[in-house]
Symmetry: C2
Subunit: 229 residues, 2 copies
């Protein structure tokens, strides 16, 4: 049975990605990374989602990314924006302040290490270029570059084995992601997307992530099962 690492934050997108990996016949190794983010409630959600969807194994790894600061999600001194706040930069590009420095590079590196150990040829990641157009590491060209790197960086790559980065949500709207997950049996009540969920995993309903999620359910025409504080 072919094996895949699936990055699982406990949010809506990664839960859907795990379900997609299962629908493609993969034996999944779900990896959650605790990198000093505020929303530890997401990790509890990840555990529930991994169990409910039948991941073969689930690991939580810790990285003290908070030590290097630089993002509202890892640095308690910065406020999480509740409006569509962005950091304007000189070139006209805009990057949200919730951007975590090099986050997806780091998450994929950890997934790559585990892929080597368990012999997984595929790594699934729930990045999305539609909702997160301001994040450089959510773009298809980033995923392609990481796949190229992975093939040069590893034993399996040197040996000419399979090493593929799968980002099945990358061009989907939130509504399409939700429709896909519902078709595959995802219970979104288990997932936590909020940037500042309370310890019980209840969402604030006000941050960017909450708003994107809520409008996704609206656009998909299905009830929003999110537990709000």
């Amino acid at each position: 049975m072919k094996a895949a690492i699936v990055l699982l934050s406990g949010g809506l997108d990664s839960a859907t990605t795990l379900a997609i990996a299962h629908s493609q016949g993969f034996k999944t190794f779900a990896l959650s990374v605790h990198y000093g983010q505020r929303h530890a409630a997401e990790l509890d959600a990840a555990r529930r989602v991994a169990a409910a969807l039948g991941a073969h194994e689930h690991r939580v790894m810790g990285v003290d990314l908070a030590g290097i600061g630089g993002s509202a999600l890892t640095d308690w001194a910065m406020a999480v924006p509740e409006t569509v706040a962005e950091v304007p930069v000189t070139s006209g590009t805009h990057i949200p302040v919730t951007y975590v420095p090099a986050r997806n590079t780091l998450l994929l590196s950890l997934a790559l290490g585990w892929a080597e150990v368990v012999g997984a040829g595929d790594i699934f990641v729930g990045v999305n270029a539609v909702d997160y157009s301001g994040y450089p590491d959510c773009r298809p060209e980033f995923i392609a570059a990481f796949e190229q790197l992975a093939r040069l960086a590893t034993k399996v790559g040197v040996e000419g084995g399979r090493l593929t980065i799968q980002a099945p949500l990358i061009m989907l709207s939130k509504a399409d992601i939700i429709r896909t997950g519902l078709r595959l049996g995802v219970d979104y009540a288990m997932t936590v997307s909020c940037y500042q969920a309370d310890p019980e995993g209840r969402a604030c309903g006000r941050c960017d992530s909450c708003r994107l999620r809520r409008s996704g359910f609206g656009d998909a025409g299905v009830p929003d099962p999110t537990r709000y504080a």
Copy 2:
């Protein structure tokens, strides 16, 4: 003053790399990563080296890479080879068992995150393709691929800013590395290269790393200041 992140393990190569970065006029942010490796004595060495060479800042980050196993350096159940032991693979390529899955990808990812936060345009890493020819992530093509990835993955890359991965030792022999470091004032007695140094940082004298280091001093024609157990 231009800033650089320098990956600093506390070994001979990374200490030399830090000295090279200073010789090129960089204000350095030295980054040591504790990824569950046995040789925590290296981290003490890293602190001493960073202070002695005048790094602007030194951070130690923790990553529980040991949790995913797969290498003699992170998995206590595997023995550190004391002969030139390698894992033969079907293609004829040989990878040492001391290879840590995706290690340099992970280390560079962490460095990249910190580079974004402090606005560093250069990342120095002491990889070497001569002594570590069996490690896929010590090759020039790996470094080039990571640089390409870094430019796609980050704010500064999106904005067209400088982001360069410098691997100044990559084609040097151990003797050349030692000669370079001595010229730049590195005190190699402070550094620890041994895969299984004791808690006081004394080297075993038998592992691959000790042997490479010892023969480097011999080839360079200088006394070996290593403290052996």
